[in-house]
């Protein structure tokens, strides 16, 4: 733990229901500034929804998110946009603007910090452009800066996305399945990079991961989710063979999932 520079991120009783499915169900977590947390669990366990509840791309039904003294659930208008700039996000399928060059994609991370009327006509300060170029240098893609983002390989695109996140100068980085679409080598490179950013820039990282081994290797702390609930929270060391066995056995089990489904239906109908 690197102390309380920005205050901790605190989720309390967070919940979100889509139709009849409780995607996130009463999740409470405290994440210290500077931690690197891996969120693991099967597809549909609610990992993506959890991250998007934090930057409010999805509005919660229940519970609250606070960061230090800041009540995130309460933010409106410009304050909400500031918060989103403060917790950058990267995505499974990169979500770059493929028709723009890589450097411009990185520059888009400065939009919240630029006057909108100037950015709309394509003007960015030299300082911002240099910042973007340095971010590209840091992810080792400076030589590809003028290529269209859509032409780059998956691993390169994800690194461009990370560079864009970096120029936001965020406190927190939300990574939604950042390596699921990548080959093992690119995946390792991206995880190394996230780890380095976490250590060197003191940015809190929350990463959804499919791959348990990657989570164990790179994260200080692992949170496991199943059917919207947190079922494990602790250091990788505590995730021993028995815990893993339990986790996998639970995930593979059909009956409890079916039971949850009917439970969710009842609560939403009522």
């Amino acid at each position: 733990m690197l102390g309380d520079r920005h205050g901790e991120l605190r989720l309390e009783g967070l919940g979100k229901t889509f139709g009849a499915v409780k995607a996130v169900d009463d999740v409470s977590l405290e994440i210290d500034s500077g931690e690197m947390v891996g969120v693991i669990g099967a597809s549909g366990a609610g990992k993506s929804t959890l991250l998007k509840l934090i930057n409010r791309l999805i509005e919660p039904d229940d519970g609250s998110v606070t960061c230090g003294p800041l009540d995130v659930s309460d933010l409106r208008g410009k304050a909400l946009l500031e918060w989103r700039a403060d917790c950058a996000m990267i995505f499974q399928h990169f979500n770059l603007v493929e028709r723009l060059d890589a450097a411009t994609n990185v520059l888009l991370g400065r939009l919240r910090r630029s006057p909108s009327w100037l950015s709309l006509v394509g003007w960015f300060s030299r300082e911002d452009r240099l910042r973007a170029a340095r971010a590209l240098e840091r992810v080792e893609l400076l030589d590809f800066g003028l290529q269209r983002a859509g032409r780059l390989s998956g691993g390169q695109q994800q690194r461009v996305a990370i560079a864009r996140a970096l120029v936001q100068e965020p406190r927190i980085l939300l990574a939604d399945e950042p390596v699921s679409a990548l080959d093992p080598r690119s995946a390792a490179a991206v995880m190394e990079l996230l780890h380095k950013i976490n250590r060197e820039d003191d940015i809190t990282v929350l990463a959804n991961l499919h791959d348990l081994e990657l989570a164990r290797r790179y994260c200080d702390r692992i949170v496991a989710m199943r059917a919207g609930r947190v079922v494990f929270d602790g250091s990788p060391g505590r995730l021993d063979a028995a815990a893993i066995e339990r986790l996998y056995r639970r995930e593979g089990d059909a009956p409890p999932a079916a039971a949850d489904w009917t439970d969710a239906r009842k609560t939403t109908v009522a």
């Binding site: 030299r126 452009r129 170029a133 030589d143 003028l146």
Partner: protein, 283 residues
């Protein structure tokens, strides 16, 4: 490129080049505007002086309406007009249907990502261009000469034009379709037509429908206009009223046409809802 500073100057150069291209394009558009404005006598003073004339003409087409009896008198020919309007709608509907069918069939050959050869694509695109650039009135006259006056000539003329414009729009929709499904269907051994039908059409169909509805509206209006050359429908009546200076009749007929187009728009909205995401009709 060694440093961020070097990169920035290269980047700045690239941005300058892009701006120069944009400026050149803008200059061409401005020049074309100037020439066109001069040739079509676009004169701000004349425009300003003429505007009251438009208002005057429109005012003359609407009688004073003080009672329901006035309204009845304004729409004195309602029964006949509705019948003629129905004829116009039928012409427009048939033409849109025929045009859409031909356009949909050709749109796959005309799409850059789907055409099997450069020849196929070029030939289809040129044919579509021919179909849409010859004015509808010219086609209508040709068909009147060939098949005699009456609605058939109108249907054919509008269908040819619709096929031409919709074919171009549809092919561009197809070009924007994701190629993932195309690859996966080709990998199953599906033939070209099968791939077009199952990989591309489901993606393109909602846009096809939107464009067809828009084309139907345009065709209702065009069917009214080509009535002028004797293919029947409400257009012939409108032409007669304009020529005879029957201002109130012109106003009444125009009001009916506007109401019809509005009704089409409302129905079209519902239809699109059925086909697009989560709709009841699967393509």
């Amino acid at each position: 490129m060694r440093s961020a500073e070097d990169f920035d100057s290269a980047w700045e150069q690239a941005r300058r080049d892009k701006r120069r291209t944009l400026a050149a394009g803008g200059a061409i558009v401005a020049a074309l505007f100037a020439v066109s404005a001069w040739r079509s006598e676009l004169d701000p003073v004349r425009l300003a002086e003429g505007l009251p004339g438009i208002v005057d003409y429109l005012r003359q087409t609407i009688p004073a309406l003080r009672s329901a009896a006035d309204l009845r008198e304004w729409f004195w020919g309602l029964d006949r007009w509705l019948l003629l309007l129905a004829e116009t709608l039928a012409i427009a509907f048939l033409a849109t249907l025929l045009g859409t069918a031909v356009a949909a069939l050709l749109s796959f050959s005309a799409a850059r990502n789907l055409a099997r050869s450069r020849w196929e694509r070029t030939l289809t695109r040129r044919a579509l261009e021919l179909a849409r650039t010859v004015p509808v009135l010219v086609f209508a006259l040709i068909f009147v000469v060939a098949f005699g006056g009456g609605p058939l000539a109108g249907v054919l003329a509008l269908a040819v034009h619709s096929a031409g414009s919709l074919g171009k729009l549809f092919s561009e929709v197809n070009e924007n379709a994701g190629m993932g499904p195309v690859d996966s269907l080709r990998a199953t051994g599906a033939g070209w037509a099968q791939t077009a039908r199952y990989a591309v059409l489901p993606q393109s169909l909602p846009s096809f429908l939107s464009y067809s509805m828009l084309r139907f509206e345009i065709n209702v209006r065009s069917a009214s206009v080509i009535g002028f050359v004797g293919v029947g429908g409400i257009g012939q009546e409108l032409y007669y009223a304009i020529r005879q200076f029957l201002y109130h009749d012109v106003g009444a007929i125009l009001a009916l046409i506007v109401l019809t187009v509005t009704a089409i728009d409302l129905v079209g909205e519902k239809l699109r809802g059925l086909v697009s995401d989560g709709g009841a009709i699967a393509p």
